[in-house]
Symmetry: C2
Subunit: 258 residues, 2 copies
Protein backbone atom coordinates (compact mmCIF):
# COMPACT_ATOMS: atom_id res chain seq x y z
CA UNK A 1 0.00 0.00 0.00
CA UNK A 2 1.45 3.39 -0.99
CA UNK A 3 1.84 5.99 1.73
CA UNK A 4 -0.68 8.81 1.44
CA UNK A 5 0.37 12.29 2.47
CA UNK A 6 -2.31 13.72 4.73
CA UNK A 7 -1.96 17.28 3.43
CA UNK A 8 -3.04 16.39 -0.11
CA UNK A 9 -6.71 15.75 -0.93
CA UNK A 10 -7.62 12.07 -1.12
CA UNK A 11 -9.53 11.26 -4.33
CA UNK A 12 -11.40 8.00 -4.94
CA UNK A 13 -11.83 7.08 -8.61
CA UNK A 14 -14.34 4.46 -9.73
CA UNK A 15 -16.56 3.66 -12.72
CA UNK A 16 -19.05 1.15 -14.10
CA UNK A 17 -17.34 0.11 -17.33
CA UNK A 18 -14.67 -1.80 -15.38
CA UNK A 19 -11.16 -0.98 -14.27
CA UNK A 20 -9.64 -1.66 -17.72
CA UNK A 21 -11.98 0.69 -19.63
CA UNK A 22 -10.27 3.65 -21.37
CA UNK A 23 -12.63 6.08 -19.62
CA UNK A 24 -11.29 5.41 -16.14
CA UNK A 25 -7.69 5.85 -17.37
CA UNK A 26 -8.77 9.25 -18.74
CA UNK A 27 -10.34 10.13 -15.38
CA UNK A 28 -7.19 9.16 -13.46
CA UNK A 29 -5.22 11.44 -15.78
CA UNK A 30 -7.75 14.25 -15.19
CA UNK A 31 -7.43 14.29 -11.40
CA UNK A 32 -4.00 12.88 -10.48
CA UNK A 33 -2.46 16.36 -10.17
CA UNK A 34 -5.19 17.39 -7.70
CA UNK A 35 -4.28 15.00 -4.88
CA UNK A 36 -3.59 11.41 -3.90
CA UNK A 37 -5.64 9.16 -6.15
CA UNK A 38 -6.86 5.68 -5.23
CA UNK A 39 -8.77 3.59 -7.81
CA UNK A 40 -11.35 0.98 -6.77
CA UNK A 41 -13.39 -0.22 -9.74
CA UNK A 42 -15.33 -3.27 -10.93
CA UNK A 43 -13.35 -6.15 -12.45
CA UNK A 44 -15.91 -6.43 -15.28
CA UNK A 45 -18.35 -4.12 -17.10
CA UNK A 46 -21.30 -3.11 -14.89
CA UNK A 47 -23.24 -0.79 -17.18
CA UNK A 48 -26.92 -0.47 -16.39
CA UNK A 49 -26.44 -1.79 -12.86
CA UNK A 50 -28.20 1.22 -11.33
CA UNK A 51 -27.90 1.30 -7.58
CA UNK A 52 -27.49 -2.47 -7.28
CA UNK A 53 -25.63 -3.85 -4.28
CA UNK A 54 -24.35 -7.40 -3.78
CA UNK A 55 -26.00 -9.09 -0.83
CA UNK A 56 -26.25 -12.75 -1.85
CA UNK A 57 -22.62 -13.19 -2.93
CA UNK A 58 -19.32 -12.53 -1.21
CA UNK A 59 -17.13 -9.75 -2.63
CA UNK A 60 -13.52 -10.04 -3.74
CA UNK A 61 -11.05 -7.17 -3.74
CA UNK A 62 -7.71 -7.49 -5.55
CA UNK A 63 -4.75 -5.10 -5.46
CA UNK A 64 -3.55 -4.71 -9.06
CA UNK A 65 -0.87 -2.79 -10.95
CA UNK A 66 -2.47 -0.76 -13.73
CA UNK A 67 -1.88 3.01 -13.45
CA UNK A 68 1.72 4.06 -12.74
CA UNK A 69 2.09 5.35 -9.18
CA UNK A 70 -1.63 4.97 -8.41
CA UNK A 71 -2.93 2.53 -5.78
CA UNK A 72 -5.50 0.43 -7.69
CA UNK A 73 -7.96 -2.32 -6.75
CA UNK A 74 -10.46 -4.31 -8.74
CA UNK A 75 -13.64 -5.54 -7.07
CA UNK A 76 -15.98 -8.39 -8.02
CA UNK A 77 -19.06 -6.33 -7.16
CA UNK A 78 -21.15 -3.47 -8.53
CA UNK A 79 -20.05 0.19 -8.72
CA UNK A 80 -21.90 0.87 -5.44
CA UNK A 81 -20.10 -2.07 -3.77
CA UNK A 82 -16.78 -0.56 -4.92
CA UNK A 83 -17.46 2.71 -3.13
CA UNK A 84 -18.65 1.01 0.05
CA UNK A 85 -15.64 -1.32 0.12
CA UNK A 86 -13.19 1.47 -0.73
CA UNK A 87 -14.30 3.63 2.19
CA UNK A 88 -14.54 0.79 4.71
CA UNK A 89 -11.64 -1.49 3.77
CA UNK A 90 -9.09 0.53 1.76
CA UNK A 91 -9.17 4.25 2.58
CA UNK A 92 -10.31 3.84 6.20
CA UNK A 93 -11.60 7.41 6.00
CA UNK A 94 -13.91 9.48 3.79
CA UNK A 95 -12.02 10.70 0.73
CA UNK A 96 -12.22 14.43 -0.07
CA UNK A 97 -13.71 13.69 -3.49
CA UNK A 98 -15.15 10.71 -5.36
CA UNK A 99 -15.18 10.83 -9.16
CA UNK A 100 -16.86 8.15 -11.26
CA UNK A 101 -16.41 7.47 -14.98
CA UNK A 102 -15.59 8.68 -17.48
CA UNK A 103 -18.56 6.68 -18.73
CA UNK A 104 -18.63 5.52 -22.33
CA UNK A 105 -22.01 6.95 -23.32
CA UNK A 106 -24.53 9.49 -22.03
CA UNK A 107 -25.95 9.56 -18.52
CA UNK A 108 -28.09 12.62 -19.13
CA UNK A 109 -31.82 12.81 -18.43
CA UNK A 110 -33.50 9.53 -17.36
CA UNK A 111 -30.22 7.61 -17.85
CA UNK A 112 -29.24 8.80 -14.37
CA UNK A 113 -31.67 6.20 -12.99
CA UNK A 114 -30.06 3.21 -14.76
CA UNK A 115 -26.46 4.35 -14.56
CA UNK A 116 -23.88 2.48 -12.50
CA UNK A 117 -21.53 5.46 -12.96
CA UNK A 118 -24.00 7.80 -11.31
CA UNK A 119 -24.98 5.29 -8.62
CA UNK A 120 -21.35 4.98 -7.52
CA UNK A 121 -21.19 8.77 -7.20
CA UNK A 122 -24.55 8.78 -5.41
CA UNK A 123 -23.37 6.18 -2.90
CA UNK A 124 -20.39 8.42 -2.12
CA UNK A 125 -22.74 11.39 -1.68
CA UNK A 126 -24.94 9.36 0.70
CA UNK A 127 -21.80 8.80 2.76
CA UNK A 128 -21.17 12.56 2.82
CA UNK A 129 -18.38 12.61 0.21
CA UNK A 130 -18.44 15.32 -2.52
CA UNK A 131 -19.03 13.27 -5.66
CA UNK A 132 -19.22 13.68 -9.44
CA UNK A 133 -20.16 11.31 -12.24
CA UNK A 134 -18.64 12.03 -15.67
CA UNK A 135 -19.90 10.70 -19.00
CA UNK A 136 -18.85 11.25 -22.59
CA UNK A 137 -21.46 11.07 -25.33
CA UNK A 138 -19.49 8.47 -27.27
CA UNK A 139 -19.97 4.72 -26.79
CA UNK A 140 -16.92 3.80 -28.84
CA UNK A 141 -13.98 2.01 -27.22
CA UNK A 142 -11.82 4.29 -29.40
CA UNK A 143 -13.53 7.46 -28.09
CA UNK A 144 -11.43 10.62 -27.85
CA UNK A 145 -11.43 11.67 -24.18
CA UNK A 146 -9.46 14.91 -24.66
CA UNK A 147 -12.36 17.32 -24.06
CA UNK A 148 -13.82 15.09 -21.33
CA UNK A 149 -10.46 15.07 -19.52
CA UNK A 150 -10.27 18.86 -19.73
CA UNK A 151 -13.71 19.36 -18.18
CA UNK A 152 -13.35 16.53 -15.64
CA UNK A 153 -10.20 18.21 -14.41
CA UNK A 154 -11.72 21.69 -14.25
CA UNK A 155 -14.96 20.62 -12.53
CA UNK A 156 -13.17 18.33 -10.03
CA UNK A 157 -10.85 21.19 -9.06
CA UNK A 158 -13.81 23.50 -8.40
CA UNK A 159 -15.62 20.90 -6.30
CA UNK A 160 -12.46 20.15 -4.27
CA UNK A 161 -12.13 23.88 -3.61
CA UNK A 162 -15.76 24.81 -2.94
CA UNK A 163 -17.42 21.54 -1.88
CA UNK A 164 -21.03 20.74 -2.74
CA UNK A 165 -24.34 21.50 -0.99
CA UNK A 166 -25.34 18.79 1.50
CA UNK A 167 -26.87 15.63 0.00
CA UNK A 168 -26.05 16.74 -3.54
CA UNK A 169 -23.77 15.30 -6.22
CA UNK A 170 -23.09 16.33 -9.82
CA UNK A 171 -24.01 14.56 -13.06
CA UNK A 172 -21.65 15.83 -15.77
CA UNK A 173 -22.11 14.94 -19.44
CA UNK A 174 -19.66 15.99 -22.13
CA UNK A 175 -20.63 16.25 -25.80
CA UNK A 176 -18.65 14.33 -28.43
CA UNK A 177 -16.74 17.36 -29.70
CA UNK A 178 -13.27 18.83 -29.74
CA UNK A 179 -12.53 21.22 -26.82
CA UNK A 180 -12.55 24.19 -29.19
CA UNK A 181 -16.09 23.35 -30.35
CA UNK A 182 -17.54 23.16 -26.82
CA UNK A 183 -19.23 26.42 -25.82
CA UNK A 184 -18.78 26.02 -22.06
CA UNK A 185 -20.62 24.59 -19.04
CA UNK A 186 -24.40 24.82 -18.40
CA UNK A 187 -25.78 23.97 -14.97
CA UNK A 188 -29.23 22.57 -15.72
CA UNK A 189 -32.05 20.23 -14.77
CA UNK A 190 -32.64 16.62 -15.83
CA UNK A 191 -34.81 16.53 -18.98
CA UNK A 192 -38.05 14.53 -18.77
CA UNK A 193 -37.27 11.88 -21.35
CA UNK A 194 -37.63 8.11 -21.55
CA UNK A 195 -36.86 5.06 -23.64
CA UNK A 196 -39.44 3.59 -25.95
CA UNK A 197 -38.56 -0.03 -25.35
CA UNK A 198 -38.40 -2.72 -27.89
CA UNK A 199 -37.09 -6.20 -27.30
CA UNK A 200 -35.25 -7.97 -30.08
CA UNK A 201 -36.59 -11.53 -30.21
CA UNK A 202 -34.31 -14.49 -31.06
CA UNK A 203 -34.69 -18.27 -31.01
CA UNK A 204 -32.01 -20.51 -29.50
CA UNK A 205 -30.87 -23.88 -30.99
CA UNK A 206 -33.38 -25.67 -28.72
CA UNK A 207 -36.19 -23.58 -30.22
CA UNK A 208 -36.76 -21.43 -27.12
CA UNK A 209 -37.33 -17.70 -27.47
CA UNK A 210 -35.10 -15.16 -25.78
CA UNK A 211 -34.98 -11.36 -25.80
CA UNK A 212 -32.41 -8.59 -25.98
CA UNK A 213 -33.29 -5.24 -24.46
CA UNK A 214 -33.12 -2.41 -26.98
CA UNK A 215 -34.84 0.95 -26.95
CA UNK A 216 -35.07 4.36 -28.53
CA UNK A 217 -34.37 7.44 -26.40
CA UNK A 218 -37.24 9.90 -26.75
CA UNK A 219 -37.01 13.44 -25.37
CA UNK A 220 -40.39 15.15 -25.23
CA UNK A 221 -39.10 17.95 -22.96
CA UNK A 222 -38.72 21.23 -24.85
CA UNK A 223 -37.24 23.16 -21.91
CA UNK A 224 -34.19 25.32 -22.64
CA UNK A 225 -32.94 24.65 -19.10
CA UNK A 226 -32.41 20.87 -19.51
CA UNK A 227 -29.29 18.73 -19.88
CA UNK A 228 -30.54 17.50 -23.26
CA UNK A 229 -30.82 21.07 -24.54
CA UNK A 230 -27.33 21.92 -23.26
CA UNK A 231 -25.75 18.85 -24.85
CA UNK A 232 -27.40 19.29 -28.21
CA UNK A 233 -26.28 22.92 -28.18
CA UNK A 234 -22.63 21.95 -27.62
CA UNK A 235 -22.42 22.67 -23.89
CA UNK A 236 -21.14 20.43 -21.11
CA UNK A 237 -24.20 19.72 -18.91
CA UNK A 238 -23.92 19.75 -15.10
CA UNK A 239 -27.01 18.59 -13.19
CA UNK A 240 -27.01 18.77 -9.38
CA UNK A 241 -28.57 15.46 -8.27
CA UNK A 242 -30.20 14.48 -4.98
CA UNK A 243 -31.17 11.17 -3.37
CA UNK A 244 -34.24 12.42 -1.55
CA UNK A 245 -36.75 10.97 -4.02
CA UNK A 246 -39.78 12.42 -2.21
CA UNK A 247 -42.17 14.18 -4.56
CA UNK A 248 -42.70 16.89 -1.92
CA UNK A 249 -45.20 18.76 -4.12
CA UNK A 250 -47.48 15.69 -4.18
CA UNK A 251 -47.67 15.06 -0.42
CA UNK A 252 -50.69 17.29 0.17
CA UNK A 253 -52.62 15.92 -2.80
CA UNK A 254 -51.97 12.26 -1.93
CA UNK A 255 -53.00 12.97 1.68
CA UNK A 256 -56.56 13.58 0.44
CA UNK A 257 -56.73 9.92 -0.74
CA UNK A 258 -56.89 8.44 2.76
CA UNK B 1 -53.10 -16.84 -22.70
CA UNK B 2 -56.26 -15.99 -20.77
CA UNK B 3 -58.73 -13.58 -22.35
CA UNK B 4 -58.77 -10.22 -20.66
CA UNK B 5 -62.05 -8.33 -20.48
CA UNK B 6 -61.42 -4.79 -21.64
CA UNK B 7 -63.85 -3.21 -19.17
CA UNK B 8 -61.90 -4.40 -16.12
CA UNK B 9 -58.71 -2.61 -15.04
CA UNK B 10 -55.53 -4.42 -16.07
CA UNK B 11 -53.13 -4.82 -13.14
CA UNK B 12 -49.48 -5.86 -13.47
CA UNK B 13 -48.00 -7.50 -10.38
CA UNK B 14 -44.25 -7.87 -9.91
CA UNK B 15 -41.65 -7.98 -7.12
CA UNK B 16 -37.96 -8.40 -6.40
CA UNK B 17 -38.00 -11.40 -4.07
CA UNK B 18 -38.92 -13.71 -6.97
CA UNK B 19 -42.17 -15.17 -8.22
CA UNK B 20 -42.29 -17.88 -5.53
CA UNK B 21 -41.89 -15.49 -2.56
CA UNK B 22 -44.85 -15.40 -0.14
CA UNK B 23 -45.09 -11.61 -0.50
CA UNK B 24 -46.14 -11.68 -4.15
CA UNK B 25 -48.82 -14.28 -3.41
CA UNK B 26 -50.14 -11.89 -0.74
CA UNK B 27 -50.13 -9.03 -3.26
CA UNK B 28 -52.01 -11.08 -5.87
CA UNK B 29 -54.64 -11.81 -3.20
CA UNK B 30 -54.81 -8.09 -2.34
CA UNK B 31 -55.64 -6.90 -5.85
CA UNK B 32 -57.29 -9.78 -7.73
CA UNK B 33 -60.80 -8.50 -6.97
CA UNK B 34 -59.91 -5.08 -8.46
CA UNK B 35 -59.34 -6.19 -12.07
CA UNK B 36 -57.56 -8.59 -14.38
CA UNK B 37 -54.24 -9.47 -12.82
CA UNK B 38 -51.12 -10.53 -14.76
CA UNK B 39 -47.96 -11.51 -12.86
CA UNK B 40 -44.48 -11.06 -14.37
CA UNK B 41 -41.75 -11.51 -11.76
CA UNK B 42 -38.11 -12.58 -11.49
CA UNK B 43 -37.35 -16.32 -11.45
CA UNK B 44 -34.89 -15.79 -8.56
CA UNK B 45 -34.43 -13.33 -5.68
CA UNK B 46 -33.32 -9.89 -6.89
CA UNK B 47 -33.16 -7.93 -3.63
CA UNK B 48 -30.85 -4.94 -3.70
CA UNK B 49 -30.83 -4.83 -7.50
CA UNK B 50 -31.84 -1.15 -7.53
CA UNK B 51 -32.68 0.08 -11.00
CA UNK B 52 -30.45 -2.50 -12.71
CA UNK B 53 -31.31 -3.54 -16.26
CA UNK B 54 -29.90 -6.48 -18.21
CA UNK B 55 -28.01 -5.37 -21.28
CA UNK B 56 -25.17 -7.91 -21.64
CA UNK B 57 -27.34 -11.03 -21.37
CA UNK B 58 -30.42 -12.22 -23.20
CA UNK B 59 -33.66 -12.44 -21.22
CA UNK B 60 -35.89 -15.48 -20.85
CA UNK B 61 -39.62 -15.33 -20.18
CA UNK B 62 -41.52 -18.47 -19.15
CA UNK B 63 -45.28 -18.91 -18.80
CA UNK B 64 -45.88 -20.80 -15.53
CA UNK B 65 -48.82 -22.06 -13.49
CA UNK B 66 -48.65 -20.72 -9.97
CA UNK B 67 -51.66 -18.62 -8.94
CA UNK B 68 -55.08 -20.10 -9.76
CA UNK B 69 -56.76 -18.24 -12.63
CA UNK B 70 -53.93 -15.69 -12.90
CA UNK B 71 -51.73 -15.42 -16.01
CA UNK B 72 -48.17 -15.70 -14.63
CA UNK B 73 -44.67 -15.46 -16.11
CA UNK B 74 -41.22 -15.74 -14.63
CA UNK B 75 -38.36 -13.77 -16.12
CA UNK B 76 -34.60 -14.34 -15.92
CA UNK B 77 -33.91 -10.60 -15.51
CA UNK B 78 -34.15 -7.89 -12.89
CA UNK B 79 -37.39 -6.36 -11.54
CA UNK B 80 -37.02 -3.48 -14.03
CA UNK B 81 -36.57 -5.95 -16.90
CA UNK B 82 -39.81 -7.67 -15.80
CA UNK B 83 -41.81 -4.46 -16.14
CA UNK B 84 -40.27 -3.57 -19.51
CA UNK B 85 -40.87 -7.09 -20.89
CA UNK B 86 -44.39 -7.27 -19.46
CA UNK B 87 -45.51 -4.07 -21.19
CA UNK B 88 -43.78 -4.80 -24.50
CA UNK B 89 -44.19 -8.57 -24.90
CA UNK B 90 -47.08 -9.73 -22.71
CA UNK B 91 -49.65 -7.01 -22.09
CA UNK B 92 -49.10 -5.16 -25.39
CA UNK B 93 -50.55 -2.08 -23.70
CA UNK B 94 -49.98 -0.01 -20.58
CA UNK B 95 -51.72 -1.64 -17.60
CA UNK B 96 -53.98 0.58 -15.47
CA UNK B 97 -51.89 -0.12 -12.38
CA UNK B 98 -48.57 -1.75 -11.53
CA UNK B 99 -48.05 -3.04 -8.00
CA UNK B 100 -44.72 -4.37 -6.78
CA UNK B 101 -44.02 -6.45 -3.68
CA UNK B 102 -45.05 -7.18 -1.07
CA UNK B 103 -41.37 -6.88 -0.19
CA UNK B 104 -39.99 -8.91 2.70
CA UNK B 105 -38.37 -6.05 4.64
CA UNK B 106 -38.49 -2.27 4.78
CA UNK B 107 -38.03 0.04 1.78
CA UNK B 108 -38.46 3.21 3.80
CA UNK B 109 -36.02 6.11 3.78
CA UNK B 110 -32.74 5.55 1.85
CA UNK B 111 -33.73 1.93 1.13
CA UNK B 112 -35.78 3.28 -1.80
CA UNK B 113 -32.46 3.79 -3.64
CA UNK B 114 -31.33 0.16 -3.35
CA UNK B 115 -34.71 -1.50 -3.67
CA UNK B 116 -35.62 -3.66 -6.64
CA UNK B 117 -39.25 -3.55 -5.50
CA UNK B 118 -39.33 0.22 -5.78
CA UNK B 119 -37.33 0.28 -9.02
CA UNK B 120 -39.89 -1.99 -10.69
CA UNK B 121 -42.62 0.43 -9.62
CA UNK B 122 -40.49 3.38 -10.75
CA UNK B 123 -39.95 1.84 -14.17
CA UNK B 124 -43.72 1.53 -14.54
CA UNK B 125 -44.12 5.17 -13.51
CA UNK B 126 -41.50 6.25 -16.08
CA UNK B 127 -43.69 4.51 -18.67
CA UNK B 128 -46.70 6.51 -17.45
CA UNK B 129 -48.35 3.70 -15.45
CA UNK B 130 -49.75 4.45 -11.96
CA UNK B 131 -47.46 2.41 -9.71
CA UNK B 132 -47.04 1.42 -6.08
CA UNK B 133 -44.33 -0.48 -4.22
CA UNK B 134 -45.39 -2.30 -1.04
CA UNK B 135 -43.08 -3.52 1.71
CA UNK B 136 -43.68 -5.20 5.06
CA UNK B 137 -41.26 -4.55 7.92
CA UNK B 138 -40.62 -8.25 8.42
CA UNK B 139 -37.80 -10.14 6.70
CA UNK B 140 -39.09 -13.54 7.81
CA UNK B 141 -40.24 -16.08 5.20
CA UNK B 142 -43.01 -16.88 7.70
CA UNK B 143 -44.12 -13.23 7.92
CA UNK B 144 -47.82 -12.55 8.53
CA UNK B 145 -49.06 -10.54 5.54
CA UNK B 146 -52.61 -9.97 6.88
CA UNK B 147 -52.23 -6.25 7.63
CA UNK B 148 -50.09 -5.69 4.54
CA UNK B 149 -52.78 -7.32 2.36
CA UNK B 150 -55.45 -5.11 3.91
CA UNK B 151 -53.55 -1.88 3.18
CA UNK B 152 -52.27 -3.00 -0.24
CA UNK B 153 -55.85 -3.61 -1.24
CA UNK B 154 -57.14 -0.31 0.12
CA UNK B 155 -54.35 1.83 -1.37
CA UNK B 156 -54.44 0.08 -4.75
CA UNK B 157 -58.19 0.68 -4.96
CA UNK B 158 -57.74 4.40 -4.27
CA UNK B 159 -54.99 4.74 -6.88
CA UNK B 160 -57.04 2.88 -9.49
CA UNK B 161 -59.93 5.26 -8.78
CA UNK B 162 -58.04 8.56 -8.50
CA UNK B 163 -54.80 7.98 -10.42
CA UNK B 164 -51.53 9.60 -9.39
CA UNK B 165 -49.92 12.97 -10.22
CA UNK B 166 -47.74 12.83 -13.34
CA UNK B 167 -44.26 11.30 -12.89
CA UNK B 168 -45.09 10.16 -9.34
CA UNK B 169 -45.34 6.72 -7.75
CA UNK B 170 -45.98 5.58 -4.17
CA UNK B 171 -43.64 3.91 -1.70
CA UNK B 172 -45.79 2.13 0.89
CA UNK B 173 -44.31 0.52 4.01
CA UNK B 174 -46.37 -1.45 6.48
CA UNK B 175 -45.30 -1.98 10.11
CA UNK B 176 -45.04 -5.50 11.51
CA UNK B 177 -48.27 -5.32 13.49
CA UNK B 178 -51.77 -6.74 13.54
CA UNK B 179 -54.36 -4.66 11.61
CA UNK B 180 -56.01 -3.62 14.88
CA UNK B 181 -52.72 -2.19 16.18
CA UNK B 182 -52.08 -0.02 13.09
CA UNK B 183 -53.23 3.56 13.62
CA UNK B 184 -53.84 4.37 9.94
CA UNK B 185 -51.99 5.83 6.94
CA UNK B 186 -49.52 8.76 7.02
CA UNK B 187 -48.45 10.42 3.77
CA UNK B 188 -44.91 11.57 4.45
CA UNK B 189 -41.43 12.35 3.17
CA UNK B 190 -38.41 10.05 2.93
CA UNK B 191 -36.31 10.31 6.11
CA UNK B 192 -32.66 11.30 5.68
CA UNK B 193 -31.02 8.15 6.96
CA UNK B 194 -28.18 5.94 5.81
CA UNK B 195 -26.35 2.71 6.48
CA UNK B 196 -23.14 2.66 8.46
CA UNK B 197 -21.42 -0.01 6.44
CA UNK B 198 -19.31 -2.75 7.78
CA UNK B 199 -17.98 -5.65 5.78
CA UNK B 200 -17.68 -9.04 7.38
CA UNK B 201 -14.29 -10.45 6.41
CA UNK B 202 -13.79 -14.18 5.77
CA UNK B 203 -10.96 -16.33 4.42
CA UNK B 204 -11.61 -19.03 1.81
CA UNK B 205 -9.92 -22.50 1.79
CA UNK B 206 -7.23 -21.13 -0.57
CA UNK B 207 -6.41 -18.41 1.98
CA UNK B 208 -7.92 -15.53 -0.02
CA UNK B 209 -9.98 -12.89 1.75
CA UNK B 210 -13.57 -12.16 0.81
CA UNK B 211 -16.23 -9.83 2.18
CA UNK B 212 -19.94 -9.86 2.97
CA UNK B 213 -21.81 -6.59 2.93
CA UNK B 214 -23.48 -5.81 6.25
CA UNK B 215 -24.51 -2.50 7.73
CA UNK B 216 -26.42 -0.75 10.46
CA UNK B 217 -29.33 1.52 9.52
CA UNK B 218 -28.89 4.90 11.18
CA UNK B 219 -31.67 7.50 11.17
CA UNK B 220 -30.42 10.95 12.16
CA UNK B 221 -33.60 12.68 10.90
CA UNK B 222 -35.81 13.82 13.79
CA UNK B 223 -38.62 15.11 11.56
CA UNK B 224 -42.18 14.17 12.55
CA UNK B 225 -43.16 14.18 8.86
CA UNK B 226 -40.90 11.26 7.80
CA UNK B 227 -41.64 7.66 6.88
CA UNK B 228 -39.40 6.49 9.73
CA UNK B 229 -41.45 8.48 12.24
CA UNK B 230 -44.71 7.12 10.83
CA UNK B 231 -43.53 3.50 10.96
CA UNK B 232 -42.13 3.69 14.46
CA UNK B 233 -45.41 5.27 15.58
CA UNK B 234 -47.46 2.37 14.16
CA UNK B 235 -48.66 4.04 10.95
CA UNK B 236 -48.48 2.76 7.40
CA UNK B 237 -46.12 5.19 5.59
CA UNK B 238 -46.93 6.41 2.06
CA UNK B 239 -44.19 8.46 0.35
CA UNK B 240 -44.89 9.96 -3.09
CA UNK B 241 -41.69 9.32 -5.07
CA UNK B 242 -40.34 11.01 -8.21
CA UNK B 243 -37.64 10.13 -10.75
CA UNK B 244 -36.56 13.68 -11.50
CA UNK B 245 -33.41 13.56 -9.38
CA UNK B 246 -32.48 17.20 -10.06
CA UNK B 247 -31.60 19.08 -6.88
CA UNK B 248 -33.47 22.13 -8.24
CA UNK B 249 -32.60 24.21 -5.16
CA UNK B 250 -28.87 23.78 -5.90
CA UNK B 251 -28.87 24.90 -9.56
CA UNK B 252 -28.30 28.57 -8.82
CA UNK B 253 -25.52 27.92 -6.30
CA UNK B 254 -23.64 25.46 -8.55
CA UNK B 255 -23.94 27.93 -11.44
CA UNK B 256 -21.61 30.29 -9.54
CA UNK B 257 -18.81 27.63 -9.77
CA UNK B 258 -18.24 28.08 -13.52
Amino acid sequence: MTTRKKSKPLILVTNDDGVTAPGIAALVESVRHLGTVVVVAPDSPQSGMGHAITIHDPLRLTHIRLFKGIETYQCSGTPVDCVKLAVDKILHRKPDLCVSGINHGSNSSINVIYSGTMSAAMEAAIEGIPAIGFSLLDYSFEADFTAARHYASRISEQVLKKGLPENTLLNVNIPKLRVSKIKGIKVCRQATAKYDEEFAERVDPRNNKYYWLTGKFVNRDNGLDTDEWALSNNYVSVVPVQFDLTAHHAIQHISTYF
